[in-house]
């Protein structure tokens, strides 16, 4: 096992495999290298308040769990990590510069796509590695920073998520049974991007016709106009990239208007509302939800214990069911820490930002979500999960069933190809 996950106690603990390790089975080679004693200073920016805190707090907790595990396993090459968390607000660049001024060794975040697009070029200027948690806008490494050095992103990007949604819908319903599709997506860049990718992917896969697209504002109190239109058009599939509180609003109001009798809802991040949904609504909805690159119950606990352990830790410490955004925080920290530890042994000392950045390119590592590769294009590549959202009485929250797993080659355009070129080439 140790060998499989990269050879060190740290990598093992981040993969969630501590249970499999003997107590003194440390394969650290600390004695040989010259590493400073003081703790590693890390900064994370995410949404710690407001509607988006549904996502951001998960990210914060995930990052904190990873840091705990690293520190319990003796730190990164013996150095403890101290994590400083700030609210990303609309000050992504300022937050990052503040981190740099404070002498942070590494930065993580943000959650917002727009914020990430503003931030990434500044990361390239300042040269302190930033491992993005979410901020999943696809064009980040296609247009905004086409040739990144210090900016990385752990979570899968929008195109992967939406192509997975289209494939999941086709898997479940069959291409022949999808003739019409509709969309109810949040009224900002993310929602529009997501539906446009889903639309082109599902049209390629099934030849379906788009009968309605509506864009309720973020935090909209009332989505009933869109719901009534779906009831009227009765599309075979309705796609939604609503997240957090907007998922509960949509599901509650859709249930109240009997929308689920008229369509099959497929959502890319419905499961982000896992801690806020009620049983009757989940059961009526019978929705298909994505969960980005992590679902705690997959691979099934009988084959892969770590996911279950994350669920347990998240429940014990924060009383939540972890969503994909939990793993965004966890995985970003894990990616950096494992890459650094690898490099320490290679260079025989604490690596520079440049060396860390080089090590992160193409870096493969395990987390409780499974195996990830930080691609050459600085984009993390992981399996994506979709499942039927059902109510789990033991959990007191929704769970996903009949999980379908989609691997990166099915979801992401090959290097050098844009998403739209790639999809139209199918």
């Amino acid at each position: 096992m140790l060998k499989a996950i990269g050879g060190t106690a740290l990598a093992a603990s981040l993969a969630g495999c501590t249970a499999l390790l003997g107590d003194d089975e440390s394969s650290q080679s600390e004695g040989a290298v010259d590493v400073p004693d003081e703790p590693v200073q890390a900064g994370l920016q995410t949404f710690t308040e407001g509607a988006a805190a549904v996502l951001g707090l998960q990210t914060q907790y995930g990052a904190e769990l990873a840091v705990q595990r690293i520190n319990d396993a003796g730190g990164v090459a013996g150095r403890e990590i101290q994590l400083d968390v700030v609210h990303e607000a609309d000050a992504h660049v300022e937050n990052y510069k503040q981190f740099v001024d404070e002498g942070k060794d590494v930065t993580f975040g943000p959650t917002s796509s727009g914020g990430h697009a503003a931030l990434a070029p500044e990361v390239e200027n300042q040269g302190v590695v930033n491992v993005g948690t979410d901020g999943t806008v696809t064009t980040l490494y296609e247009e905004t920073v086409p040739d990144p050095t210090y900016s990385f992103r752990f979570q899968n990007h929008d195109v992967m998520e939406c192509v997975a949604a289209a494939r999941a819908a086709v898997d479940r319903l069959g291409a022949d049974n999808i003739d019409t599709v509709a969309g109810i997506n949040p009224n900002y860049a993310f929602g529009k991007d997501e539906f446009s990718v889903f639309k082109s992917a599902i049209q390629k896969l099934t030849g379906a016709e788009v009968v309605y697209e509506g864009y309720p504002d973020l935090l909209a109190e009332d989505m009933s106009t869109h719901i009534t239109e779906v009831n009227d058009k009765q599309p075979d599939v309705t796609f939604s990239s609503n997240w957090g509180g907007d998922v509960t609003t949509l599901l509650n109001q859709a249930a109240a208007n009997n929308m689920f009798e008229n369509t099959q809802l497929v959502g890319s991040v419905l499961y982000s509302a896992v801690n806020d949904l009620s049983k009757d609504v989940v059961e009526q909805a019978n929705a298909v939800s994505g969960s980005r690159n992590f679902y705690w119950g997959e691979p099934t606990p009988s084959r892969w214990e770590p996911g279950k352990q994350v669920l347990q830790d998240a429940r014990d410490q924060w009383d939540i069911v972890p969503s994909a955004h939990f793993m965004s925080g966890y995985g970003a920290v894990a990616a950096w820490a494992t890459a650094v530890e690898k490099t320490v042994n290679l260079v025989g000392g604490w690596p520079s930002q440049e060396q860390i950045a080089t090590a992160l390119e193409g870096h493969g590592f395990y987390t409780p979500a499974g195996y990830h590769v930080m691609g050459q294009g600085h984009q993390g590549l992981s399996n994506a999960y979709y499942g039927d959202m059902v109510w789990d009485d033991d959990l007191g929250a929704p769970a996903l069933e009949n999980i379908s797993m989609h691997s990166p080659p099915e979801l992401a355009p090959p290097p050098g190809t844009t998403a739209s070129e790639w999809i139209s080439s199918w």
Partner: protein, 387 residues
């Protein structure tokens, strides 16, 4: 010596004054203050490199929002019109620069700035024409509504990058070119900062000339009494409209510079109505009866928000309390209160003469709180009909 006028020095009422421009003369104390102020402003980039708590961009942003507030203050101080939509012009300036840079690859600093001025003039002319038909709260609400309309348009159009916004990284250098020079990012930031300071000084002098011209006097007359101003032959509508446009142009210039500093523009930080509120409150925080107040207020509010975020999760309340202090304690704003006779100046004097005065202040505060609680209980009882 005192009888002979040195270049730049004049003698008036037995005092030597520094002559800056026609009509603008400063006393010794004022010129010293101005000089020190300028030196501090110029030294900021150096100070920022040694203290992690002070960021150049934060001060820079503060100055730019302050510049927009100086523009807004032309309306507020002289015509007594409270604009609640000045983010519209700031945003127009920022988005003009961003659209030209991102969609048309315009890299020249001066071109971006001039274009922003032109577009801001147009937008301010239209918004001003429509909203100046009203005064008072109606005017405030109309400016707010037009600001939100603009925000909704930008947010809804993918041409403007929707909520993700647009990068301001034109050309091969991936940054606007200042006088055709491609600079590394640190030099770019510092030079842009100094350019901002120069533009700022020029803008302040222009504003000073403006408010002390016959036009400025006419605006004052309009602010005091519109009807009377009309009677004495001032073309009220036209003058107010011109003032509105000028005030919008200041916002546009500030916005364009902001876009070049941030190198990325998003609708939330530049167009949302809370931004309009910020710009207004900067003017009041610093003191809207003064020329420099809004600028000081801008730096202070931006700094407060930035530092506040690091210090406490309740940084919004921190700003709120600062505003309450202004409303109840320092109604003339910081700069206004620092002047001789101001509350802040008086308090400092009292304290210097007798530090025990702090005790009095505390007991006054406690009495005030007790009094307020008692009033509140009485009023609740009377409203709820409980005796």
């Amino acid at each position: 010596m005192s009888n002979r006028s040195l270049p730049g020095l004049v003698s008036r009422d037995g005092e030597t004054r520094v002559r800056v421009t026609k009509g603008l003369e400063l006393t010794k104390r004022q010129s010293m203050l101005a000089l020190v102020g300028l030196l501090v402003v110029f030294a900021i980039p150096d100070i920022a490199t040694v203290t992690p708590s002070l960021q150049l961009t934060v001060v820079h942003q503060g100055l730019l929002f302050g510049l927009a507030a100086v523009g807004l203050n032309l309306l507020l101080r002289h015509t007594r019109l409270v604009s609640f939509g000045h983010a519209a012009f700031f945003g127009t300036g920022a988005y003009t620069a961003a659209v030209l840079a991102a969609k048309f690859d315009v890299a020249s600093f001066s071109l971006l700035l001039i274009a922003a001025m032109v577009v801001a003039t147009l937008v301010a002319a239209i918004v001003g024409y429509l909203s100046l038909r009203h005064t008072g709260l109606y005017f405030s609400l109309l400016t707010l509504a037009f600001g939100q309309l603009l925000y909704a348009l930008v947010q809804g159009q993918s041409f403007f990058g929707s909520s993700d916004g647009l990068p301001v990284r034109p050309g091969a250098a991936r940054q606007p070119l200042i006088f055709g020079l491609a600079l590394d990012s640190e030099a770019y930031a510092v030079i842009l900062y100094y350019l901002t300071v120069i533009i700022l000084v020029v803008s302040l002098v222009v504003m000073w000339r403006l408010v002390n011209s016959p036009f400025g006097n006419a605006l004052d007359a309009i602010g005091q009494d519109r009807t009377r101003a009309q009677f004495i032959g001032i073309p009220v509508q036209r003058y107010v409209w011109i003032a509105f446009v000028i005030s919008g142009v200041y916002g546009g210039v500030a916005g364009a510079l902001y876009a070049m500093v941030q190198q990325h523009v998003r609708p939330g930080p530049v167009l949302y109505f809370l931004r309009s509120g910020d710009i207004l409150f900067m003017a009041i925080l610093g003191g809207f009866q003064t020329l420099l107040g809004p600028l000081v207020g801008g730096v202070l509010l931006v700094f407060l928000q930035d530092v506040g975020r690091d210090v406490t999760a309740y940084f919004d309340a921190l700003t709120g309390v600062a505003l309450l202090i202004i409303v109840f304690g320092l109604p003339r704003g910081l700069v206004g209160s620092l002047r001789a006779g101001g509350l802040l100046a008086a308090a400092t004097r009292d304290f210097r003469e007798n530090p025990a005065v702090v005790g009095e202040w505390i007991s006054a505060a406690v009495t005030g709180i007790v009094e307020a609680t008692r009033n509140w209980l009485r009023d609740v009882q009377s409203i709820l009909g409980v005796r």
